[in-house]
């Protein structure tokens, strides 16, 4: 691992970070190992499941497929950065209020995907929510509640249910 080590700087959950790593290392492992942010999950390692979803400059990316060099100078948001001063984000709150999870392993990826949807479309219809989340896998079958939670969050944020 000695070769190609570089220092990368980016904003992580609103704080600047600087980390030395090989440029082809995937963001997922740097987040989970060196940076200690384990809310981002490893699910499939090939970008199929969405458990490792984080936002880079507000766009959802599969961090298991996203080399750290591409994050240079950008803004990375993980699930740990969503609540502010201990107050849950309305999407997180809605997942709690609607039991929008079972085992919880896919939950961070679901919430961040919903968050990025709202940035582009604050009033998503149910069909738009489903389309946005369709590549995020949940094996427990919490789907109906997840949709309800996201819809409710959109409403609580002044959008939603514009079906």
């Amino acid at each position: 691992m000695g070769r190609d080590i570089k220092t990368f700087r980016f904003t992580l959950n609103s704080k600047p970070v600087q980390i030395s790593a090989r440029k082809d290392r995937m963001l997922l492992w740097v987040l989970r190992t060196e940076l200690g942010l384990t809310g981002t999950k490893f699910g499939c390692g090939e970008g199929f499941c969405g458990a490792c979803t984080v936002l880079v400059d507000d766009e959802p990316v599969r961090s298991c497929q996203y080399p750290i060099k591409d994050a240079e100078g950008k803004k990375v948001l993980t699930i740990e950065g969503l609540a502010k001063n201990g107050d849950l984000h309305p999407i997180q709150m809605a997942f709690v209020d609607h039991d929008g999870l079972q085992c919880g392993f896919c939950t961070p990826g679901m919430i961040l995907t919903a968050y990025s949807l709202f940035l582009k479309n604050p009033k998503p219809s149910r069909a738009e929510i489903i389309r946005a989340l369709d590549d995020n896998l949940c094996r427990c079958g919490a789907h109906s509640r997840i949709i309800q939670a996201i819809d409710a969050a959109a409403v609580s944020m002044g959008g939603g249910s514009s079906r």
Binding site: C44, A51, L88, F105, I111, D135, R139, G141
Partner: protein
């Protein structure tokens, strides 16, 4: 990995010595009341011990602790994998002890702290563990009343309890808190006195919908799963795997991997592994290992597996019999014989099998993603040659199990590697490893021979099960002559049967048995030219529970009597899963161009006996519908000999958001019956209700699952050809 080691015959093999070091355990407590009792589970809803069951320890066990601050800790060997016992078990405890739910903490799956438990599977937690926990709580209540009687100088019959206090019935101001009764004392009590559990009509904490209590930590990313635990100096391991089951290692060259910085290569017995302080570093080193395997020739694959299974000589075991099939055949005017095929499916939890082991000279501690922590403890002890009392398994949140996390292969691997390296070691299976080492739901066949008499009554029923497993194969329709025959079980069933490991998959056995039976009942209803609901009700004799769930589902669905196929795409099915009764109605659309089946709406009516958490039950039913759709429509393991062709979610597809129908749940009340299981029952009806709805839509019967778009298209074109 030696498959044999992980074989289990429907959870009935290993012994489970009880090794809780109670002195150690009690040392952890500063004071308070520990409620222990000798486990005599007869009369508490547990069935008579079957081989392998009833091994719960006879020693004293602590089930709950009332601490000095008045908080109560619930101790359970069960684990939380999404099914929600983290909420429902404290609910039961709070109910019987009369404390607020929010004052109850729970410790799950820690083998040093919790009473022995067989494992979390089979929808057993509420049904079988619930009565034990409730009994412990009710006994604790009696102890507190005894202590309060002393303190207040009143006789016990003058006292009652409420919200964490013991109070004088005639003067509620005269009261003493549980906390003050527990304070400054370390009391271990053991009561033999029988106490009565509350009846459902007296429930105040149970029976009310409760939201999950673990949501906050799961939405913030704080919740710790096994892979999230970090220890100083820990290494991540990747283990060399064969390309196919039964492949033999011929040569291996680790020299290139060894040249990497910080890499440790372990070659010991059957483990060859690369370890590194980062997971991706371990992966990189692992990819540099050059290995040659001899892969044996094997023609068996997913296209000829059923043929293979049916060729295996087997006499079969008659598990139930009524009347005489010969007599029944004489009465029959219309005989119908069909076979139903169900394939291998994977558990595919989103969290792969993961363990972190820290093994010192005399002590092994392993954090594990497992449904069976106490079995893991025995497995580690055996693998390390260590006394079981020196092994502790801690179970963090489990990211899905579905029956697949009962074998603990990764736990033993991590423990061995930690012992060999002297460092804490994490083993987290990759997704291809997860698919490869999974113990799939077995491929299986059900053959049904049946006949109707001239009054359109079923007069004989010969149900022959090949390797699906026995559960829910029993007859519940009113038929004078029937016989149920088993060949093999859902376990391995001897060598030469399945080309890889098989095991319990959410609703084991039942998914296939009910798919076959309830499809066949529909076929008979069509042959009788009757509405499938009416036909079922006609054959349910005095089975009021089944009639009730069927009627409840039909009413909610708006079922209109019709002969199938009606073109509407409506289907119905009912079932008994270990005492939980379920009826389902489905509406599907079939896209004749693409062959895609879309479930539009599914109604489930379920009688689960007494209801502890209606919210939890409803959500488990929804999960069953959603997960069940996967095995109906897409899930199938493809293989070529011992090689597993599905290695990730690109080819192994299961239910996505866009497939999910509108789901409506009716909880049919039955407070006179003790709480039954709810994590699995509804999933077992999905095969039949969707197949029946598809038949109703397009007049084509599917005798094999899954009903993939390709299969639907092929059948549609066959159908068109034959109708010329």
């Amino acid at each position: 990995m030696k498959d044999e080691k992980y074989v289990d015959q429907e959870f009935s093999e290993k012994t489970a010595p009880f090794t809780l070091d109670r002195r150690e355990f009690i040392k952890l407590l500063s004071g308070g009341i520990i409620v222990s009792f000798s486990l005599d589970i007869s009369g508490w809803g547990e069935p008579a011990p079957q081989p392998g069951y009833g091994r719960e320890p006879k020693d004293l066990n602590a089930y709950l602790i009332i601490k000095e601050d008045g908080r109560v800790t619930c101790l359970t060997g069960k684990i939380e994998m999404g099914q929600g016992v983290i909420t429902s078990l404290p609910q039961m405890l709070a109910e019987e002890l009369d404390v607020p739910l929010k004052s109850v903490d729970i410790v799950l799956g820690d083998t040093d702290l919790c009473p022995w438990d067989m494992g979390t599977f089979g929808s057993r937690s509420t049904k079988f563990y619930g009565p034990l926990l409730r009994r412990a709580a009710a006994q604790a209540r009696e102890i507190l009343i005894e202590l309060a009687a002393d303190k207040l100088g009143l006789s016990e019959d003058k006292l009652t309890v409420e919200e964490g206090f013991v109070l004088e019935k005639s003067n509620p101001q005269n009261k003493v808190s549980y906390a003050s009764l527990a304070k400054g004392k370390r009391i271990e009590r053991h009561l033999d006195k029988e106490v009565s559990l509350k009846s459902a009509t007296d429930f105040s904490v149970c029976g009310e919908p409760r939201y999950r209590t673990d949501s906050h930590e799961k939405v913030t990313g704080e919740a710790k799963f096994t892979g999230d635990i970090r220890l100083e100096g820990m290494l991540y391991a990747r283990i060399l795997r064969p390309p196919a089951h039964r492949a033999r290692l011929i040569s291996v060259d680790t020299s290139e991997a060894e040249r990497m910085n910080d890499v440790k290569i372990v070659r010991n017995g059957d483990i060859i592994a690369a370890l590194h302080p980062t997971p991706d570093g371990a992966e990189e080193a692992f990819r540099k290992i050059q290995a040659d395997f001899d892969v044996p020739e094997d023609d068996l694959d997913h296209t000829n597996i059923y043929e293979h299974l049916l060729k295996i000589p087997s006499e079969g075991n008659v598990i139930e019999k009524e009347g005489s099939l010969e007599e029944g055949k004489k009465l029959s005017t219309k005989s119908i014989e069909e076979s139903y095929y169900n394939c291998y499916v994977a558990h595919a939890p989103l969290e792969t099998h993961t363990a972190l082991a820290q093994v010192d000279k005399n002590k092994a501690t392993v954090w594990a993603s497992t449904q069976t922590p106490f079995r893991a403890k025995d497995d580690v002890a055996e693998a390390l040659g260590m006394p079981p009392e020196n092994v502790r398994i801690i179970t963090p949140f489990v990211g899905g199990g579905f029956g697949g996390k009962t074998h603990n292969g990764q736990v033993v691997e991590a423990a061995k590697l930690s012992k060999l390296t002297g460092k804490p070691v994490q083993v987290a299976w990759s997704r291809p490893e997860e698919f490869f080492f999974d113990n799939y739901r077995p491929a299986s066949i059900i053959k049904i021979r049946s006949g109707l008499d001239e009054k359109n009554r079923i007069v004989y029923w010969h149900f022959e099960n090949f390797y699906a497993g026995e559960r829910s194969s029993q007859m519940y329709y009113d038929v004078p002559h029937y016989q149920t025959v088993m060949h093999g079980s859902w376990g391995r069933g001897g060598s030469g049967i399945h080309p890889f490991g098989v095991g319990a998959w959410r609703g084991p056995g039942s998914n296939t048995n009910i798919y076959a039976r309830e499809s066949h009942i529909d076929i008979l209803a069509s042959a009788a030219e009757m509405d499938p609901l009416e036909f079922r009700l006609n054959h349910l004799g005095n089975d009021k529970r089944m009639q009730r769930v069927l009627n409840a589902a039909a009413e909610k669905f708006g079922w209109k009597a019709s002969r199938s196929p009606s073109g509407r795409g409506h289907g119905i099915a009912c079932l008994d899963y270990l005492g939980t009764y379920v009826a389902l109605c489905a509406h599907v659309d079939v896209d004749k161009k693409s062959g895609a089946i879309q479930a539009k709406r599914i109604v489930v009516a379920q009688d689960t006996g007494t209801i502890i958490n209606p919210q939890g039950i409803t959500i488990q039913i929804e999960g069953c519908v959603v997960m069940g759709l996967g095995y109906c429509l897409s899930e199938e393991i493809h293989f070529n000999g011992g090689q597993i062709l599905d290695t990730n979610f690109d080819t192994y597809e299961f239910t996505r958001f866009s497939w999910v129908p509108e789901i409506e749940v009716v909880l049919v009340e039955n407070p006179d019956l003790a709480p039954q299981g709810c994590g699995e029952p509804a999933i077992t009806g999905m095969g039949a209700v969707i197949a029946n709805a598809v038949y109703d839509a397009i007049g084509i019967r599917f005798f094999e699952l899954p009903m993939t778009p390709d299969r639907v298209k092929a059948k549609l074109s066959e159908h068109r050809m034959s109708s010329f």
